[in-house]
């Protein structure tokens, strides 16, 4: 197990460097941040050069990247051009997005696995067909369309939920956005759960469990589900990152001031440090989630642990 963890961690290093470097390079291609600082006015060349030097923008990109990475490990993500530290922006934005993600993840786990188990256990029955058709439709509708339609129905027409999320984002106002964010992932979880259950129910060890005379409930919980949920949990873990990405869309529909909102502002205003900072943190979270999943996988499946 120890060796496995270390190998996974070592593999993560080049991925982390590569990913952040690509993001860094792309963001710097966004345009000249100093010019953006001056807005429509043409900057005085001398002043611009001075600012560049101050910010280290006259160094080669790779050096700037190195400096930035140093900053990250000391908790310094630079400042926006208005002088606000990026870390502070993150502190305002992240809790909201995190709350939204947690709400969505809860929906995904409970409803997704629930529907998948229901469908997988009663293959060919009406419930199964219903779940399959429903999930297929949900997968086919892009999240932002689901978002607008549900916002209109629940928020406007029936008045059952807040159409937009107020400042501070209380949990109950995040239920609808959370469900919208979770919808597509939820459908995938249900289908994946169904597939693995259907597959494993034909497995030899399930037949053995039946031949042992175990009660059906025990066969299902201790053998069928225990094994079938391993790939589902793997998926859920990797999907955590996707939820954070998808939050960009959901936050826009419901006017939530989270990571997506600030990131979007950063791109519009060509604020390099904001964009790089936010994206880097998202990528780190994403990579950590992947790592966590790999470790979880090893915990759940001894064949990997002892390989």
């Amino acid at each position: 197990m120890g060796r496995y963890v270390i190998r996974r961690l070592l593999q993560m290093i080049p991925v982390f460097i590569g990913t952040t470097f690509i993001i860094f390079t792309m963001v710097h291609a966004l345009g000249d941040p100093v010019a953006a600082l001056f807005g429509d006015k043409a900057p005085d060349p001398a002043v611009a050069a001075q600012i560049r030097q101050q910010l280290g923008l006259d160094n080669p990109l790779i050096v700037q990247y190195g400096d930035y990475m140093k900053g990250i490990f000391t908790g310094d993500l630079g400042t926006t051009f208005s002088g606000q530290p990026v870390t502070e922006l993150l502190k305002t934005a992240y809790p909201t997005t995190l709350k939204l993600t947690v709400v969505a993840f809860t929906f995904e786990v409970i409803i997704g696995i629930g529907l998948g188990v229901l469908s997988g256990m009663r293959r060919g029955h009406l419930a199964d067909t219903g779940v399959m058709v429903m999930t297929l439709i949900v997968i086919s509708i892009p999240t932002f369309v689901i978002g607008y339609v549900l916002q209109y129905l629940f928020g406007v027409k029936w008045g059952l939920a807040d159409a937009t999320v107020p400042e501070g984002a209380p949990i109950q106002s995040l239920l609808l956005p959370g469900f919208v964010l979770a919808s597509v992932s939820l459908a995938y979880v249900a289908r994946l759960t169904r597939t693995t259950i259907a597959e494993n129910s034909k497995a030899d060890y399930v037949r053995t469990a039946v031949a042992k005379g175990l009660p059906r409930r025990r066969v299902v919980t201790h053998h069928l589900l225990r094994n079938s949920l391993i790939p589902v949990i793997t998926f859920l873990g990797t999907d955590l990152g996707a939820l954070m990405g998808g939050a960009l869309v959901t936050e826009r529909i419901f006017n939530i001031h989270g990571v997506g909102y600030y990131l979007y502002q950063g791109i519009v205003h060509q604020s390099t440090s904001t964009v790089v900072g936010f994206v880097t943190v998202l990528v780190i979270v994403f990579l950590l989630a992947n790592l966590l999943v790999d470790l979880l996988y090893a915990v759940l499946d001894p064949r990997i642990r002892y390989a």
């Binding site: 693995t196 597959e199 990797t238 869309v249 990997i304």
Partner: protein, 342 residues
């Protein structure tokens, strides 16, 4: 000692399997992860032997290949027929939109802004006073083009890189796998927001290129796994022993036997790429007017949804039906190519 080997399916080496396990795409919009989860444990390339081995149930007198079997299966699957007809129809609309509409999607009359459906204009008008029906018909081209070409691109690039990595192994495999990991490390919507806002041109091909750049690792991993499995088959060893060269081995023996999982994942990915294009356009980093796209129209209609829902519902409906058709096709193809699910 073979007994000590963990119960890895089909002898795919450890690393291959852990790679696959992290091969779940990071975003549902770039999906098909359900299929991958399945492929992780299954090996479609084994299908011909398996089906002829399950004695008694299968037809012994007429041995059929996986492809013939799959085709026979598809032909009697109503889902395949429905989605197939739908897709043919959509492709015709995309190529010859003029057949279905005489007005131009760019000919607009502001005085008719946001008017509901009237005779001759069954879908009504949008804010600019453009005919929503015309825009919906002409919007098919952008979506289908992006979907088809992005899928072709990711499939070709992914199969090539993943296949070579799986076939040669060693440093090539290590390099390709790490590069794939790097691109996997970027959530696709996030990447779209950053990358596409850099590029001033918003032609369809830029969006296609973007999807290919971030999408190929998914296919590469599938291809890599399938090639590693195929390479270990006895008939490949036999062909090698008979002196077949690398190129011949790859093209004649390994490629045909690795295609099934690649095709399955690619077909389902097609639907999700269409959805992705619409989402990117919605976020303002995908296609831009004057290109006619469902994503742009939905985005534009969103603000006035309460007053003029028809502006959003018609293009959104068209979009959903298109995605649904491709995902259903992918589902049917997967069922046909995977004998274990029969």
């Amino acid at each position: 000692m073979p007994d000590q080997q963990p119960n890895k399916p089909n002898g795919v080496p450890d690393d291959a399997n852990t790679e696959l396990s992290s091969a779940f795409a990071q975003t549902p919009t770039l999906g098909a992860m359900e299929v991958e989860g399945m492929l992780e444990k299954e090996d479609l390339t084994h299908a011909p032997e398996q089906s002829s081995e399950s004695v008694g149930i299968t037809d012994r007198e007429v041995p059929r290949s996986l492809w013939q079997d799959a085709w026979r299966e598809l032909r009697r699957n109503p889902i395949f027929i429905i989605s197939g007809i739908l897709i043919i129809f959509l492709v015709i609309v995309a190529i010859f939109p003029g057949l279905f509409d005489s007005t131009s999607p760019l000919q607009c009359d502001l005085s008719k802004s946001q008017q509901g459906p009237t005779s001759g204009h069954p879908f009504g008008f949008d804010t600019q006073g453009c005919d929503v029906y015309a825009r919906t018909v002409y919007g098919a081209r952008a979506s289908i083009t992006v979907g088809v070409f992005a899928t072709l691109g990711t499939a070709l690039l992914g199969t090539l890189l993943g296949g070579l990595a799986g076939y040669f192994g060693g440093w090539l495999d290590a390099v390709v796998s790490r590069i794939a990991d790097i691109f996997f490390g970027i959530p696709i919507l996030l990447g779209g927001l950053v990358f596409l806002s850099v590029i001033p041109s918003r032609s369809i091909w830029v969006v296609v290129a973007f999807i290919v750049v971030l999408g190929w690792p998914q296919l590469a991993r599938i291809a890599r796994g399938a090639v590693i499995t195929a390479r270990q088959q006895d008939y490949v060893t036999a062909a090698r022993a008979l002196g077949a060269g690398n190129v011949r081995l790859m093209l004649r023996h390994i490629l045909p036997n690795s295609l099934a999982p690649i095709i399955v994942v690619a077909t389902i990915a097609l639907g999700t790429y269409i959805s992705l294009e619409a989402t990117l356009s919605y976020l303002g980093v995908g296609l831009k007017p004057p290109t006619v796209s469902w994503g742009i129209d939905i985005s534009a209609a969103a603000d006035t949804f309460r007053n003029a829902p028809h502006m959003l519902l018609f293009p959104a409906g068209a979009l959903c039906i298109t995605i649904l058709a491709f995902i259903m096709l992918g589902d049917a193809v997967r069922d046909a190519l995977d004998p274990k699910l029969r």
